[in-house]
């Protein structure tokens, strides 16, 4: 900090610290803390509350009528009853406007078995997408980094980036058009006479989780390729040649030379792909269109905007954070990389 003040003076340093504190507290830590808090309480709504209040009001009306009718000295007993009833109404109304919060883990533990199975399923799907994306991307990253001439590598890079400038939703939508009931693939099959639109014997690709996989890999392929490319690129070509000269097969060369070198990149690529897949709302939303089962991200959306249960929604959201955190820690352990190697 002193070095900062020495260079930029107290005024500018103060501004930097304030801005960073704003970012740290108001955009990162406090929102997460409030989300955690929201997930830890629930309101035990008393369904009878409205009726109780109504009944108390009608009792009150009767008593007040009695009190007015009683000419002369007002009955102190009636007056007392009126007062207690008014107090009761006040507490009931306070409960209605600001119901008491019950803290606990109920939002997590009361996850229905259906929702829990979707939660587990989404994690497995995201893991599968990560493994598949790695298998698809590794040869591409290696080719661009080590085999292509510089000009061709630049061209291939451009070819990778261009689809990325097109909006994620539109890219996924393109796959919807291809895999739809009367989409490109089914139309081709119909043209070949394999399926028939009239008999509705088309292949319902969109009802298989595989179609979401294809679109997810397509949507996030760059996040796997770039980190791996960056690490493979720094590998000395002589090491590859040495491995081959010593008689190493292609497989052995990759297994013993390239992969160990690319570890940090692989870890980062897997972390990004897993995180993006497990938390993707857009891709399953577009690809399934409610026809095959929900993904966990869609469940979370429903809790917020359809069932309006923010407490349960926050608990589901925080569960997702924990899953991502666990995945990051496992990857860091397995690949032996530090936090500084991540997100480079």
């Amino acid at each position: 900090m002193n070095s900062l003040i020495r260079s930029y003076g107290k005024g500018l340093t103060g501004i930097f610290v304030t801005l960073t504190a704003f970012w740290l507290l108001l955009l990162i830590i406090l929102p997460q803390a409030f989300m955690l808090d929201q997930s830890l309480w629930s309101i035990d709504k008393d369904d009878q509350l409205g009726m109780k209040i109504d009944r108390a009001y009608s009792d009150l009306g009767l008593l007040e009528y009695d009190a007015q009718q009683a000419t002369g000295d007002t009955n102190p007993a009636v007056q007392e009853k009126i007062d207690t009833l008014k107090e009761e109404i006040a507490t009931l109304e306070a409960q209605e406007t600001d119901p008491p919060r019950e803290y606990g883990l109920q939002n997590y533990t009361r996850m229905s078995s259906l929702h829990f199975s979707i939660f587990v399923k989404s994690i497995f799907y995201a893991l599968a997408v990560t493994v598949l994306a790695f298998a698809v991307c590794y040869p591409v990253a290696f080719t661009i980094a080590k085999l292509a001439t510089p000009q061709r590598a630049a061209l291939l890079m451009l070819g990778l980036i261009i689809p990325y400038a097109i909006n994620e939703l539109l890219r996924v939508y393109a796959w919807l058009m291809i895999l739809d009931y009367q989409g490109v693939i089914n139309s081709l099959l119909a043209w070949m006479g394999v399926v028939s639109f009239a008999d509705k014997t088309w292949i319902p690709f969109l009802e298989y989780p595989g179609s979401v996989f294809v679109a997810l890999i397509y949507a996030y392929v760059l996040f796997m390729i770039f980190p791996i490319y960056n690490t493979v690129e720094t590998l000395d070509k002589n090491q590859l040649e040495a491995a081959q000269d010593l008689g190493g097969s292609v497989f052995l060369t990759h297994w013993r030379v390239v992969l160990p070198h690319a570890k940090p990149g692989i870890a980062v690529g897997c972390i990004m792909t897993f995180m993006l897949s497990v938390g993707s709302y857009s891709v399953p939303q577009i690809m399934t269109r409610g026809k095959s089962g929900d993904w966990f991200s869609q469940l979370i959306y429903r809790q917020f905007f359809e069932t309006q249960n923010w407490n349960v929604g926050a608990a589901y959201a925080f569960s997702l954070v924990l899953v991502c955190l666990a995945f990051i820690l496992i990857m860091m352990k397995v690949f032996k990389v530090g936090i500084r190697d991540i997100s480079k």
Partner: protein, 272 residues
């Protein structure tokens, strides 16, 4: 290794075919999507071909919600760039200069928005600002998106600052420049390329964002959330037209970028 660029023999051939298939996988969907924008059929399709038309382009020009969505998206993106660049720069300066045990912790927290799902950022922003009665809307969208786009720009600034030669700054101070003057005349010009890259990346990230925005945007909408809601109601080739416009803009930008790079290379070659 042979002189062939794709490696020797059979494995080289397989790799070549693989790369070709991969790039077909990348580009074929875009082709399908673009083609459907020119089909007269009112449901987006390339197989039910009813003849070429530019009708859907006109339809887009009259679609008020989409046009307003574009305006909203640009407003949000400008807000995000204006907020995330100063935040990212401050974070980067502090992290590169701070020598403390807590530097790594601070670093981890500041990059954490990149490592947790976008929907979480939207949800936590919505809950937190809801407590102080700020409802979802374009303002919250700016805040939610900035939380992670600032992390991107911080990483860019950190990479640049690591290559900074601090001698210049010290010399300026020794010669009696005020720290503010030195910052403006030496640090900022040194960081200028990163400021531009950061602004462009931040702008594009913001325009493209869906997963965070859908939770924070409330009753307002951006271009992307409007597209998202069309998938449920009223899917028409107008969406494909937007796709075509994105493709055209991208190709223009990529071409300009390549030309710019070529020129720079030639200029450098001319300088020797």
């Amino acid at each position: 290794m042979s002189t062939q660029s794709n490696g020797p023999g059979l494995s080289g051939l397989i790799l070549k075919i693989y790369m070709a298939v991969f790039f077909v996988y990348l580009f074929a969907p875009l082709l399908v999507m673009s083609l459907a924008a020119f089909n007269s059929y009112e449901y987006p399709s390339v197989t039910q071909w009813r003849g070429w038309t530019l009708h859907w382009f006109g339809e887009l020009a009259q679609d008020d919600r989409i046009l307003q969505g574009i305006v909203n998206s640009v407003l949000v993106a400008l807000g995000v760039v204006g907020l995330s660049l100063p935040l990212g720069l401050s974070g980067a300066l502090i992290l590169t200069r701070l020598q403390s045990r807590y530097t790594n912790v601070l670093y981890a927290v500041l990059v954490s928005p990149l490592l947790i799902p976008g929907i979480i950022l939207g949800i936590s922003t919505l809950i937190f600002w809801g407590r102080v009665d700020v409802p979802g809307g374009l303002f919250l969208t700016v805040l939610a998106q900035s939380s992670f786009i600032a992390s991107y720009s911080m990483l860019l600034f950190m990479a640049r600052l690591q290559r900074q030669d601090r001698v210049l700054e010290e010399a300026a101070l020794d010669l009696g420049a005020s720290s503010f003057f030195m910052f403006r005349r030496i640090t900022v010009p040194f960081l200028a390329p990163t400021l531009i890259t950061g602004a462009v990346i931040g702008f594009l990230q913001s325009i493209e964002n869906y997963n965070t925005t859908i939770f924070a945007v409330g009753g307002d909408w951006t271009l992307v959330t409007e597209i998202g809601s069309r998938f449920r109601f009223g899917l028409s080739p107008v969406i494909n037209v937007i796709g075509v416009l994105f493709v055209i803009l991208t190709v223009i930008a990529a071409t300009l970028y390549t030309i710019q790079k070529e020129r720079e290379k030639q200029r450098r070659a001319a300088l020797g």
